[in-house]
Structure formats: structure tokens, C-alpha cells
Symmetry: C2
Subunit: 347 residues, 2 copies
């Protein structure tokens, strides 16, 4: 018997984090009698007078949103991390703690209550990207902000508490656990090879042609070799860049195009508004150059078998090791076969 | 202003894993308009003829369960990792993989379809502990098994696909990511201090008296200083032991008592069968002595505010850093105030 990744249980290394993922190719054949998710209702109005994110409406803190017409950013009314507060540490044997300052922002993608990213025009998505760039610069300039995490929780199953399409930005003093791992491994690679880890990885993927979902002039969307979530993907710029603010106008446009196309394919996979957590990993804003960083956007969607059966990252995965039930190659194949035209626009 | 852990956002170090958790004390005050979980129906029969785990019934692979009367273990019909298969590696630049062998077992806690751990007698729980010990020994003796992960996914919200109370054991060649972190940090601590990390930690907790939920002669149940899930706890033996097989009979009995009491309090918290993933972290079965290991059982329950509102570990948590919305001290206080008598037994 020879090792066949589509047949035999194996582990794969994520070179960005240094951690292994367990791959169990045939496990999704087991019968499912467990929890089924609700599919969300599709009759969403363009404007909802009770939505605290729609233009002109009252938010939960009593303030009124402006009558905004493009993407709109404001400071989270229930920020997990705030800019004011004392500085302090606890340094008592095995009890170690320190205060953490930061700024949490909310980004409404557009005034439209009913349009998610794949349903927006590329130019509207480009406006979101421009706002992200502006926020990354403004937040990063705060002396106490060393890292800026841009992300979106899409869908109730991903803990999204308001259906108005929006993302968040949490910025803070410390570099959080996940980007810190990626920083360490990208730095070691760059110091050794003089090229970014992801530049070399892209070369391998262009050669393999097994995990690439789609491409345009400046970006590749692929299911990484080490993907953990069933339909996990990443958008990677061809050119090594530390942050989204390094993009040219043409690259920003191409990024918006790639972002629209992968999210459209996600919706098309099960003909629903596809839930995920997504976000951008990029260089810390600590005032130091980061030539090792090759920024990228990751998508972690929970669904596995259908619109209603998700992958549970529970017992074994929480206590021992991330584990997936289908191969990254088979997921890439399915996503590659889908159309760039949103299912709602197919007559 | 001075740093008050119950007021100000901060980070805490988990010395077992070396990773930080973000604590945002006041964030659970935000309004919740997001997903609500179903509470599970409570009318469960003692025997279910359609259940593939009940005694005497047919399993999905066509085999029949024996008419078992105590806890019952068998090899998973849909094992993620199996004992047979080739040995192989992929070593191609940034693509790194290796085959993984192992054995996956299912443990029915008792013949009763309707009785979860907190509803069993201490002696019946002790029988489960004895079976775990036996499985740890048998699996650990396999030359290709270097780590044995005992765990339970309890409740549909935790991906449990069959309501018959049961746990699982996945044993394998590699030490998985999470226990490996704990191994590294416990070893460094033991090499430096000549005592296990958790022995010293328990001393600090006995002194602080803030996070201990309950105790008996041989065990402590506490919300660790670095807890991530809202009502996360751990059961820790007073005496440093590498594995559950090192327990005396009196210690096994005391462990069963502690296990029953913490799970009873969990059920009492919201008067429901409380969901969680739980399991035991202990020494690898790699044939090497592990004096640094101090085994313990962890509970990761998802619920936050009520029986229907859970904590979503999503965008920020998946992409950046684990984050909690209430302090470990307030969770410990709530669990400490609860009764050891199961709510179903209160007249
Ligand atoms: O083995 P089960 O109960 O079918 O499946 C459950 O537990 C496994 C181990 O934690 C997970 O991989 C699955 O996602 C989960 O649904
Ligand atoms: O900020 P929201 O949308 O209220 O909350 C959601 O996203 C946060 C950041 O990922 C999480 O901490 C919450 O658990 C989740 O429900």
C-alpha cells in the first residue's frame, strides 16, 4: 500500500502556524443524526427601521447613525477592549495578567440591509477595502495599537448578532495568539530564504494545480494544503506585501474581484447565504518594518455536508487537535466547479 | 485608577499552554439578538429500540451490541484514525504530511439511554473511570499508540450525534497539538522547580480561595485563572500523578465523586442537561517516564448567558485570540453557590 492522501488518515503541517491538522478522508461517510442548523430566511428588506445599523436609525447607545451612503465605520457600542483604563500587571507565580487597551470598530459594508458581500458590485466592495485601509492606518497610528484585526462573522450560526451586513475591527496593544504564530514562522522563513513563505508556497500551488479555486491578475484564491475547516480558503496576493495599505489601485480592484468571486461561489455551493468567519492577517502596526509578512485573507466556513449540517470542532478538536473529514483537494475541486454568477441572479 | 480584573480588559497567561486569553469583563452586558439554541427535550426513555448504542441493538455496521450491564467500550464504526494502512510522508518544500495510525473507541457510560454522568451513582461513574483506566493501558500498549485522548461531547450543541450518554477515546501515533503544548510547558516547569506546575498552581489557588468550586479529600474542581470558556472548569488531583492509572482505589472513588458533583452543578446552573466537551489530559504512552505530567480533566461548556445563549468563539477568537466576556472569578462564584443535589431530584 502506498500513502494516498485521498484515502489514508494523515497529518499535514501548517507552516504559517507550525501546527498540524489531522485529515480523516473518509469520515464524512458516517451517518449524521446530530444537530441541524436552521437555514436563514431570505426575505430581508433593503431598509429595516428596527435595525440599529441601518442609515439614520438609533443605535443601542442612543446615538443616531448618519444617513450614510457607502461603507460606514463607528466605534463599537459594546467594545471588548477600550482605549481608556489603567495600566497594570499581575505577576504572582503562576498567575500572570496584564491590562489590554485597544479600539473596537464596526464597519457596515453598505447602507443596504439586504446585500451581503457577494451581492455587492465590485466597486462597492472596493469601497469597503478602501475603508479597511483607512482604518488600518488610523488605528495603527495610535501609540497603544500594535495590531489591527479586521474580520467578519457572517450568519447567525457564526454568532453574528445583527443581520445588516457588517464586519468588525479589533485593534489592541498585544499581537494576538494567531497572528503571532504566523509572524514567528514567516520571520524564520524570510530570514532563512530571503523570500516570503507565501511567495514560495504560491509557486508550489501554481505547479500542483490541485488546490487553486480561482485567480485574477493579482490574486489567487485557494484551499490551503493545511486547511482545517471543510471549505476553508485564503485569498493571497501574488506580490509579497506586508499590509493591505501596500496595494496599488489595480491590486485593490483585483482583491475586491477575488473577494466577490469566492463569496459568490460559497453562496452557490448550497444555494444559501453561506456563513463564515473571515478576516485579514497582516503586519503588526508596531512601527517596525515587516518584510517577512505576506498579508492574506482567510475564510473559515463551518458548513460540511449541506446547508444545515456543520462541522463541529468539539471534543477531539478542542482537547487534542484540529481535524477535518474531507480533503482540501476535494473541497477545492468542488469550489472550482462552481459559477461566478450568484445563484439569485440565475434565471 | 488601579487595575481591577473585574472591571478592566486584560490578558491572562495559561502557563500550561503558554498562550494568552483576552478577558473583557463587561462585554456580556451587550444586547443579544443573535442565535438561540434549542433546549433539548427531557422525555428520554431508559431504553430506545432505535438507538444504535443501547444494549442488544444493531449498530450501523450491522453488528449487535451485547446485553451489557455496565459501561461498554467498542471500536468506532466510523473511526477517524485506524490501525491499518501504509506508512508514508510527503516532504515537498512547504507541503509536509505524514500518515497517522490509531484506534478510536466509543464508551457507553451505562446501559441506560436516559442517564447522563450527573444522574449516575458515584459507583457507576467509578466503573466508567475503571474502564478508562483499562483502555488507557490496553491502547497505550499498542506499539504505534503514543497518546490516548479520552473525551465526551455532551449535547447536540456540542456535535454529539447520538443521545445515549457516551464518550470517545481517540488514540494515535503523534502527541496532538494541545497536549503537546501542555507537555512542553509542564516539562520546562518540572525541570526548573522539581515540582509539577499544577502542584504549585493548586497551592496558589488554596491561598487565593477565589476560583475553587468544590473539593474532596483528593481532588479540587476550579475555574482556572486562564479559563477561556465562560464556565470552564478543571478537576485536578491534589497529588501529582502522570496518568489516571496512577490513582489509588480511594482516589478513583474521589475522582468519581468530584466528576458527579461538578456535572450536577452544571445541570443546576440553568436547570437543563448542560452541554460541554470534556476530557482528560495526561501523559503520552510513549514508553518514557513523565514525572512532569500532572493529569487533569477539563470541561469546556459553550453556554454563556442562559440555557439558549452560547458563547460564540468566532471571528476575533478564531482569527486572533481566545476571548471571554465574564471573569473566571465570577463564574467560580456562581458554580460554588449551586447545590450538589441534581435539580431533577429536588421535590
Ligand atoms: O464522533 P462523532 O460523535 O460522530 O462526531 C463528533 O465528535 C468528533 C470528535 O470530537 C468530531 O470530529 C465531530 O465533528 C463531532 O460531530
Ligand atoms: O461582536 P458581536 O457581533 O456582538 O459578537 C460576536 O463576535 C465577537 C467577536 O468575534 C465574539 O466575541 C462574540 O462571541 C460573537 O457573538
Amino acid at each position: 500500500m502506498t500513502f494516498d492522501t485521498s484515502e489514508h488518515s494523515h497529518r499535514r503541517l501548517n507552516p504559517l502556524t507550525g501546527e498540524w491538522v489531522q485529515v480523516s478522508p473518509h469520515r464524512s461517510k458516517r451517518p449524521w443524526q446530530g444537530q441541524q442548523e436552521k437555514t436563514e430566511t431570505e426575505s430581508i428588506p433593503a431598509f429595516d427601521p428596527t435595525c440599529y445599523l441601518c442609515p439614520g436609525n438609533k443605535r443601542s447607545n442612543g446615538e443616531y447613525n448618519p444617513a450614510y451612503t457607502g461603507p460606514f465605520a463607528f466605534t463599537n457600542d459594546f467594545s471588548a477592549i477600550i482605549a481608556d483604563g489603567p495600566d497594570g500587571t499581575i505577576n504572582d507565580g503562576l498567575l500572570q495578567a496584564k491590562t489590554e487597551k485597544g479600539i473596537c470598530r464596526v464597519i457596515c459594508f453598505s447602507p443596504r440591509h439586504d446585500l451581503t458581500i457577494p451581492e455587492l458590485d465590485v466597486s462597492d466592495i472596493n469601497a469597503v477595502v478602501a475603508l479597511w485601509q483607512q482604518e488600518y492606518i488610523t488605528l495603527g497610528k495610535e501609540p497603544f495599537v500594535n495590531y489591527v484585526q479586521i474580520f467578519e462573522n457572517k450568519g447567525a450560526v457564526m454568532g453574528c448578532s445583527n443581520p445588516h451586513p457588517h464586519g468588525q475591527i479589533w485593534s489592541q496593544e498585544s499581537v494576538p495568539v494567531e497572528p503571532l504564530k504566523k509572524q514567528v514562522h514567516q520571520k524564520a522563513y524570510f530570514d532563512k530564504h530571503g523570500r516570503t513563505l507565501l511567495s514560495d508556497y504560491l509557486q508550489q500551488e501554481f505547479k500542483a494545480q490541485q488546490r487553486i479555486v480561482l485567480e485574477n491578475e493579482h490574486f489567487v484564491v485557494l484551499v490551503p494544503f493545511w486547511a482545517t475547516w471543510p471549505f476553508e480558503t485564503m485569498i493571497v496576493p501574488n506580490r509579497a506585501m506586508a499590509a493591505i495599505t501596500d496595494m496599488t489601485a489595480a491590486e485593490s480592484q483585483a482583491f475586491a474581484d477575488a473577494y466577490k468571486r469566492i463569496t459568490t461561489r460559497y453562496d452557490n455551493l448550497f444555494s444559501i447565504s453561506f456563513p463564515y468567519s473571515a478576516g485579514i492577517h497582516q503586519a503588526p502596526t508596531d512601527g517596525v518594518p515587516h518584510p517577512e509578512w505576506h498579508w492574506h485573507m482567510v475564510f473559515y466556513p463551518p458548513l460540511l455536508r449541506s446547508a444545515t449540517v456543520k462541522k463541529f470542532m468539539v471534543g477531539y478538536e478542542m482537547l487534542a487537535n484540529p481535524q477535518r473529514d474531507i480533503t482540501p483537494e476535494s473541497s477545492a475541486e468542488r469550489l472550482r466547479a462552481l459559477s461566478d454568477v450568484h445563484y439569485k441572479n440565475v434565471k
